[in-house]
Symmetry: C2
Subunit: 172 residues, 2 copies
């Protein structure tokens, strides 16, 4: 399926110079949504995944149906203050300043096999932070999965310790 | 399945006096996640749903797997400034102040049958705003579905024009 044709590119969003990849046009297309979830799931079928983790909030969109289809659980990774119980936090650097992500301390049991799912591999910072949180809880990151990759941002290098799977690549 | 036993109650979150219903303990349990999605989907199987719409961001968590399972599309309803293309907006009143939600103008075609899915029916304001946005685009809201209902907040009255389905009710 030509998935790329279902994704809308929006120039200068959220700021000038960025060619935003809008997946809402994919999501509203039942065949494209089904294909996306099935293909991501297929890429990790042999990995005995216990838990799928997804960062807020587009990681929820792709991650929960993958967890459902796999028969795994889903764990949300959220911005500070959103999760109600005791959390593990991880702070990481952005181009300007820092950002922080949180996971519930009881979200993952030591030894569980975890797949991370998100919509977009850009610089890789969010997903690396997600991997660190999972590892801090004793989980094993067995697969890192994206719908799209912006190859020119080099995020794959940052995540080189993990098996990476992307459905679509953009070179510019 | 006793779904309620998989939901954690957290006292005084996000502020004093609120007994927060934490669904992360349900989501990480594969059997509970599967049961939740299957039951919500079952409740609308005879409604010929074209599109599932879910408000940010817990509506994404429940809504996308339901859309996937139904073979429908998914449409996110988001806070202002998050959607990249042309939007329809709806402002609604809160206890103090107002809030606003947005939907892409091309998200729904006139005549499409739309099911709204969210995690929690509290006062009903968010989902009523979501229904108004769908109707502004010419869609027909055929079903409104929640994982949980806080019956003491009376949200069901606000949504009385629509068929409502909830899996779990809390009386206090």
């Amino acid at each position: 399926m030509d998935l790329k044709s279902t994704i809308r590119e929006v120039q200068d969003f959220p700021k000038e110079g960025i060619n935003f990849k809008d997946i809402t046009t994919l999501l509203k297309d039942p065949a494209a949504l089904r294909y996306t979830i099935d293909e991501i799931t297929k890429s990790m079928e042999d990995k005995q995944v216990d838990v799928v983790a997804g960062p807020e909030s587009r990681g929820f969109i792709v991650g929960v149906p993958v967890a459902y289809k796999l028969g795994a659980g889903f764990v949300p990774v959220r911005k500070p203050g959103k999760l109600p119980a005791e959390v593990e936090s991880y702070e990481y650097e952005l181009e300007y300043g820092t950002d922080k992500l949180e996971i519930h301390k009881d979200a993952i049991k030591p030894g569980q096999k975890v797949a991370i799912v998100d919509d977009l591999l850009a610089t890789g910072g969010t997903v690396l932070a997600t991997a660190r949180l999972i590892e801090a809880l004793g989980g094993e990151v067995v697969s890192v999965n994206f719908l799209m990759e912006l190859t020119f941002l080099g995020g794959r290098e940052k995540l080189k310790d993990y098996p990476i799977h992307c459905l679509i690549a953009y070179d510019e």
